[in-house]
Subunit: 339 residues, 4 copies
């Protein structure tokens, strides 16, 4: 079940073939799902390419809409503008093992890291799944993080899987969702794809694309959620432009009904697969192609539309889940079916 | 005509008595309107209090959603966190005379400025009204800026007045709009008020609170607009909190249908009338009351709701206007009447 | 051996009694040193107070001079302006176990974390000690992190101890250093103290307070270092002011001869012990005392002076060390003795 | 008289032929000096190239070390990363006429500005020369601003000229200074040049390159100064890199003895003459050459060295000046001669 299966398409721009972040050529996504009674959590990995990320670094930039979050790696990403590892998503207390796994994996691939060359900057983003998941169980291991990376493919499930297993969104069952938009530039086809870890929003605030509000009829709790938005594109952009693109994820979340609540760590990370930067470049300069700034509006629109739809995609796909202590989140599809 | 007269109320929180930024005690607003054939422009002044602003500085902070704008004064405001002059809104090319007027006015009131004391930091925000207004005429003078300040009162008109005279919004006639929200904290009543200079949005993108899209049926031009959002409150906040509150203006604009287009300089400035800072303080410390962070969500919601409604207020009040070169913007009320 | 024992006092303001960060009442520092052949590394803990940090959060702010670093916790710290755990310093690859230890320790003290309340934001800062230390050994454990916290006292050693065990600075043996300055405000005595983890600077660039340059005569390598600067004060400051104070750490590093090289993650974190914020406040407001902005220059000067002296303190105290693979760093005292 | 004539060379890298910002090919500098009894002020213009700046925009970025300043144009510069006008330096209260002049000049050259195309973003930076200059006289006119632009050449005077006419620095006569560094990359020669408007620093804090402190023996006043640092290079850099380069101006100021005092608006702006961006580009993409990040350290060093030397250049060249109200600043050369 995807957002469009429930009639929840967003915006005007056409989606890519998969309507997924993996419509951007080379991008892969993998999950490791941990569901065992009160433990419902996991890891989701996004790989900008399937090669050695430390040797061939994708250009990237963070965009923090609300910094109530415990991400790892964003300070260096903002300074240097390059990714050195896959991007891992997980629960708030699993950031440490995920970072550890990325470091060990990088060292295994490049034994000179931290010796002859610089160290490596792991990037891990997180949401708090503590309503459904027994987050204090600290169930995620380094092996789980590596399993998510190993599982990465072009076709991947969405909903209550991987890092999305225990997430909640607008009082419904949340999770992982995705969407993409296809763009024509200089006669060629490009894509911009979004993957969200949707764990934000108060009950009653969800707004569907036609303006309807939908309420899970669950009691309202104070928001302790978050939303992570990863944006990929094959359009060549410089860091400054990626920051501008990433900021528009906030508009997509607002279109879902959010005002970026105090407790919601709403953080975006945008990368391009164009112009990757070599760890050991041949010369002192690199030639890059960059989008003309006057053409960037379509990317802003694509980001906002795909972010909105990716959130609805997570809601559409995530099935009703019961977690720790009898806590329960109903799937949006179930409610819309009833309605 | 106000937004609520057209049935365009936004959100769940109750408005203040005037549903205006001047519901915050002490805040005043004045206009100087310049409408003379192809020249349709002006100045709007917002006064946090009616005293000497250089001597008694309101705590304030900027929040830049999209920095495609030519504001004056935001660098120092971000560093020091205090206002030293009234806030002026005007057209892009009138920033210089408005800044000049604020400097002259401050010197007249405090002859030691730039001599014994530091200089003064004028704050001027702007939008490009060049579609209706002959912006190259450079029609705004220092006298006009002073006239707007002199005219400041609690009850003020909205729509195509002051700085809003020549503005456009979603292909309709734009302008100045306002709204407020009433909040209860520790048993007392407080207000958060918003005033917008609405000059943003592409034709066809406007979304009403019930989800309807409305189209002015005008040809679509590339966005060269902007939106300025001034937020006032009597709730005591520190600078960091004002930045967080100001950022939520972006959610209100998104709720109107915007994705913060490339050409739209979407800039917010939030101030509190609590805890003003003396230019020459008595001691080395100041005692301040500050809102507990855990209570800030209602302010975020109030900001997003009031920003959305203030934009619709500008659209509701602004009447059909013809400007330079036969350019014409239709008022939203006229279109809704027809519909 | 301290900086002043080598005649390396810096600046004009008087130091506190210990000339240490622990001159700020309540602040404690502890080390866990791991020195075993090619493994020479460790953890240093800074405690703003000896109570429950999650329940009573010190006001704090980061200031990033050069973001080439892998710190944890700064995004949330910048947004919310409060610390929730002790501050841990360690090597780059030990950030994950240190963060894990802080999470487990917080949960043990507050079993409602991640259940009824929000999660906790661990703060860990790091430098790359890979020249002397076999950083790939991943020798630091969660138990080591807890041991550093347990060891925290007012009187603590400096030099090649704790996180400083394997650090290098200007081609010499680096490590942990500290200094403080005493300030009079409104008739009372206050302190500003600094602790650095000094691991930056190219051979030959070190400049002593009298202008002399000192060279370790070691071969010059490309900088892969960093410097962490933790600033504590009991002067009441708001977050914006702490950011301004923290930024002046960069001036202190420059006074040592640095231009903040590309590879040097120069990151400061400033906190005040005044006005701590309760996790569960009594009312909706908090009363705070705040320093008048016009008095902040002395704090800027104190920060720059104490940062410069703390770096020299680390150099003065750190003894010649031999680490992995025959790598060796000579202590500055040894070189100055010879000269 | 230049800094090197007084034996005040800084750092290790070789200077360009002029040891001036105009060693960067195409860059021009012009002054308009206003010296008439108590009025001693002026305007200095820096032109990245001698063509139409709106049509061919240099890539640029701001770096604010201390934002206590009233600059114009930095918000848009930070968002879009391009200059659209010459850079003007002047006194704090002359920002408005300078901005006005840049707007009028741009409209005259491109009559479609604000009509068919977007508006133009004037960039004006300032310091407070109110100690020597009767700043309240508001003596600078739009004609003066244009005169500075018209006067722009490769060989230009430094010291108490143009915007530097009334400036003070460490209690001495300050003003305009410049320096450059020559760099070899991929077998070709490049330059990085700096121009400062030096108006900062407390009496007694000046530190010469050999470590000596020099005191003008004038009474110490609270700092109300500032320092503007403009950095030019023909090395191809993207915006993010220009921000990093610009930040190192702060290290150069610190090497002069500054800790970036509260009242000192220390603001840098860095631009490259490589890869200028067309207002109306041919296609949807632009090909750019960009420096490999691993080579950026030499630019950081060049920026810090040239900033330090440019400040000393201003001090060396600026002759003893008497201004309003008997206020007097002695030239550094005079003091060093005496010593």
């Amino acid at each position: 079940m995807r957002a469009r299966d429930l009639g929840l398409a967003c915006g005007a721009l056409p989606p890519g073939d998969r309507n997924a972040i993996t419509d951007v050529p080379g991008v892969l996504v993998g999950h490791c799902t941990i569901a065992d009674g009160p433990v419902c959590t996991g890891v989701t990995a996004i790989l900008p390419h399937d090669g050695n990320m430390f040797q061939m670094k994708p250009i990237a930039a963070p965009a923090v809409t609300n910094g109530f979050g415990k991400s790892v790696g964003l300070v260096q990403l903002g300074e240097l503008g390059t990714l050195e590892t896959p991007i891992l998503l997980t629960n708030t207390f699993a950031v440490a093992p995920c970072a550890g796994a990325l470091i060990r994996r990088a060292i295994a691939a490049d034994p000179e890291i931290g010796r002859r060359t610089a160290t490596v900057n792991p990037v891990v983003l997180e949401c708090n799944d503590g309503y459904l998941n027994d987050i204090q169980a600290l169930a995620v291991t380094e092996a789980d993080a590596l399993a998510a990376i190993e599982a990465a493919t072009e076709d991947f499930p969405v909903g209550a899987v991987g890092a999305g297993t225990g997430m909640s969104c607008f009082g419904f069952k949340g999770g992982v969702g995705t969407a993409s938009r296809r763009l024509r530039l200089d006669g060629a086809t490009y894509h911009l794809g979004v993957l969200v870890l949707a764990n934000f929003g108060r009950s009653g605030d969800l707004r569907l694309p036609d303006g309807r509000r939908v309420d899970p009829e669950a009691g309202v709790e104070e928001e302790q959620g978050s939303c992570i938005v990863v944006i990929a594109t094959d359009i060549p952009l410089e860091c400054r432009q990626l920051t501008r693109v990433g900021r528009r994820a906030g508009a997509g979340l607002a279109w879902c009904g959010s005002f970026w609540g105090n407790g919601s760590g709403d953080i975006a990370l945008a990368f391009t697969t164009a112009n990757p930067v070599a760890q050991e470049p041949d010369g002192e300069f690199q030639d890059r192609r960059v989008l003309a700034e006057g053409r960037i509006d379509r990317l802003f629109q694509a980001t906002a539309e795909a972010t909105q739809e990716a959130v609805l995609d997570a809601l559409a796909a995530a099935e009703t889940t019961e977690g720790r202590n009898g806590h329960r989140r109903v799937g949006l599809a179930e409610i819309l079916d009833r309605g």
